[in-house]
């Protein structure tokens, strides 16, 4: 397997009128092709910033950072599923899913076909011509996920995509996400504040410290796939969770102290 994303001692420092603010102190990580990697950390630790930079929407102020492109030239390098439902309210569900393809200049006939296929996969065919205002939060986020997948990027970046959902929709979409990932085998970087989610989904969990954010430890998750909701009740799962939580709790405590 080849290395897809590599960060070595990366830093992000914002210069403001009040002085310098270090959002990311030291990000060192290595993600291999086809891996599902989750980043957990307390709120405000800079994990979303890290993801944004890897997406190419911002930049590091220091350090070595490298994303390796694949063979195919047409394939976009990455697509992001954003924290808020960043699907466009002025486009129908179908047009939203086809957005990336449209921007790449793919003909209307082909992109509609691809978008319909993806809608069918997540059971949203009926809602193809609805506008985002007319569907539920869970549906919106599924649309956001398949908007990224329909564009067939080499890397899928997800920034707390299920954070705003209720617990039940969350579970359902997590399972669905695993199924989709199994089919496509994309490289995924998934930022979340839910430890359960990270262990349930990932091949590897990266723990980030309170601000200024550093990647302090990586935990390979060896729980067998395919995973389902029942996986969360196994001894392996709870053991891993308490092991990571021990460290994470310290960081969350520091983060809360910082905010006061």
């Amino acid at each position: 397997m080849s290395v897809k994303i590599r960060c070595q001692g990366c830093q992000k420092v914002y210069r403001t009128a009040e002085g310098e603010f270090t959002a990311i102190g030291d990000a060192t990580l290595q993600i291999e092709e086809g891996q599902f990697v989750c980043i957990v950390g307390p709120s405000g630790c800079g994990k979303s910033t890290l993801l944004k930079i890897i997406a190419g929407l911002d930049y590091f102020t220091a350090g070595e950072f490298d994303v390796r492109h694949g063979e195919s030239r047409d394939q976009p390098i990455n697509n992001v599923v954003f924290q808020e439902y960043a699907i466009f309210p002025w486009r129908t569900v179908l047009e939203n899913v086809a957005f990336g393809l449209e921007m790449r200049g793919i003909s209307k006939k082909i992109r509609t076909e691809i978008a319909r296929e993806w809608l069918q996969k997540v059971g949203l065919s009926k809602f193809a011509n609805y506008f985002p205002d007319q569907i539920s939060g869970g549906m919106k986020q599924r649309v956001a996920i398949i908007r990224a997948l329909a564009n067939d990027p080499e890397i899928l970046l997800m920034d707390e995509p299920l954070g705003a959902l209720d617990a039940q929709s969350r579970l359902l979409i997590q399972e669905e996400l695993l199924k989709l990932w199994d089919e496509t085998k994309k490289t995924v970087l998934y930022v979340t504040h839910s430890l359960d989610e990270a262990i349930f989904l990932g091949d590897e969990v990266l723990l980030m410290s309170a601000n200024p954010g550093r990647i302090i430890k990586r935990y390979p998750i060896t729980i067998e796939r395919p995973r389902s909701i029942n996986t969360m009740n196994t001894g392996d799962f709870t053991r891993t969770r308490s092991e990571i939580w021990e460290k994470l709790a310290v960081e969350v405590g520091r983060s809360m102290a910082n905010q006061q």
Binding site: G56, L57, N79, V80, F82, E84, W90, R91
Partner: protein, 345 residues
């Protein structure tokens, strides 16, 4: 049916009538009209409110519509009765029926100086149609007061709107341009455009023609819509721009696929406000100087002390406002398909 409520109502209604009789005989309806009116509206509102609760669910919608229609009619009838019995001064507040009659008169009888009516000379439509076809009919409408005003408002609105949206987008998207023009724009924006009408008149070859009037409307619409469009662009959620970038939308693609649709809803709500202001400006300009137009008609009828016709003019302005707003809503319906389900609620 709720028996308790219906008993309550059967007491309330006679009491309400009794109270009004007392007020009448104490001469309070003459001396304290405003107080009586307020008391009556409050009690009446309470009675209607209770009565609405007795309406069966399936008649709910139609009963609500009935109330929204009934209440204005009730107020108008009170006005009618008061004016005709002399409780309020009919010189300044003529009866609604008289106003309607004079509206009819304004349509059918040519006014002395402009020699035309509100809608041209509608009784000649058939005759002209036979002589000159549709073109002749159009000419007839064109010579009326309503068309004069409508033409100025719509022309001014469009001439102001188009460059304003352009400038607004530039200022919204580019910080340097915004910084350069922001203070100038804010300064001129607060200036009542009617105040620069004399200057605008000087600029044009024919100061007493339609051009300066249209220009003043255009100017006021321009400044308002530039500010509105700029705000609309700046208020687009950053996440949409980021998503656009991430999916490969840059430059013109980003503009047409993200920025334009993202700002259209607030541009349209700005247009609603600007339209109202355009009407204010054109009526004021016609007060000042015009040989035709609804504003001219209102002012002229004030000067010759014909209040019914003045009110008829006001109604005409309202109708023009309603008509243009409807057209704007129609445009909005066509331009914003994703807002359709909330537009005509």
């Amino acid at each position: 049916m709720n028996p308790e409520k219906s008993i309550k109502l059967s007491v309330q209604i006679p009491l309400f009538l009794l109270l009004n009789l007392v007020l009448y005989f104490l001469d309070l309806w003459t001396n304290q009209v405003l107080m009586c009116l307020v008391i009556d509206v409050i009690i009446f509102g309470k009675i209607v409110n209770d009565a609405m609760k007795l309406v069966p669910v399936r008649y709910k919608k139609s009963s609500e519509r009935f109330v929204t229609l009934l209440f204005p009619i009730l107020l108008l009838s009170i006005w009618e009765i008061f004016a005709s019995t002399g409780k309020i001064n009919p010189t300044w507040f003529p009866e609604p029926t008289k106003i309607l009659a004079s509206l009819w008169e304004l349509i059918t009888v040519p006014e002395k100086f402009s020699e035309t009516t509100l809608l041209g000379r509608p009784w000649m439509i058939l005759e002209r149609y036979q002589e000159q076809g549709l073109e002749g009919v159009w000419k007839l409408i064109e010579e009326g007061h309503v068309w004069a005003t409508l033409y100025r408002v719509v022309m001014g609105f469009v001439i102001g709107l188009v460059p304003a949206v352009f400038c607004g987008f530039l200022m919204g998207m580019n910080k340097t341009i915004r910084l350069m023009f922001d203070s100038i724009l804010s300064a001129i924006y607060v200036l009542p455009k009617i105040a620069i009408f004399p200057i605008v008149m000087l600029v044009f070859a024919d100061p007493f023609g339609d051009a300066p009037r249209i220009a003043v409307v255009a100017l006021s619409v321009f400044f308002m819509m530039t500010i509105h469009t700029m705000g609309a662009v700046q208020n687009i959620e950053g996440i949409y721009i980021l998503a656009g970038h991430n999916y490969g939308a840059h430059g013109l693609k980003l503009f047409f696929k993200v920025i334009l649709p993202g700002s259209l809803p607030s541009i349209f709500s700005g247009m609603r406000v600007a339209l109202g202001m355009a009407l204010i400006v054109i009526i004021a300009v016609e007060f000042l100087r015009a040989e035709k137009g609804v504003g001219y008609l209102i002012y002229y009828n004030w000067e010759i002390l014909a209040p019914e016709k003045m009110y008829a003019g006001l109604i005409t302005v309202m109708l023009i406002g309603i008509l243009t707003t409807l057209v704007l809503k129609l445009l909005q319906y066509l331009a914003l398909p994703w807002k359709r389900h909330s537009l005509f609620k």
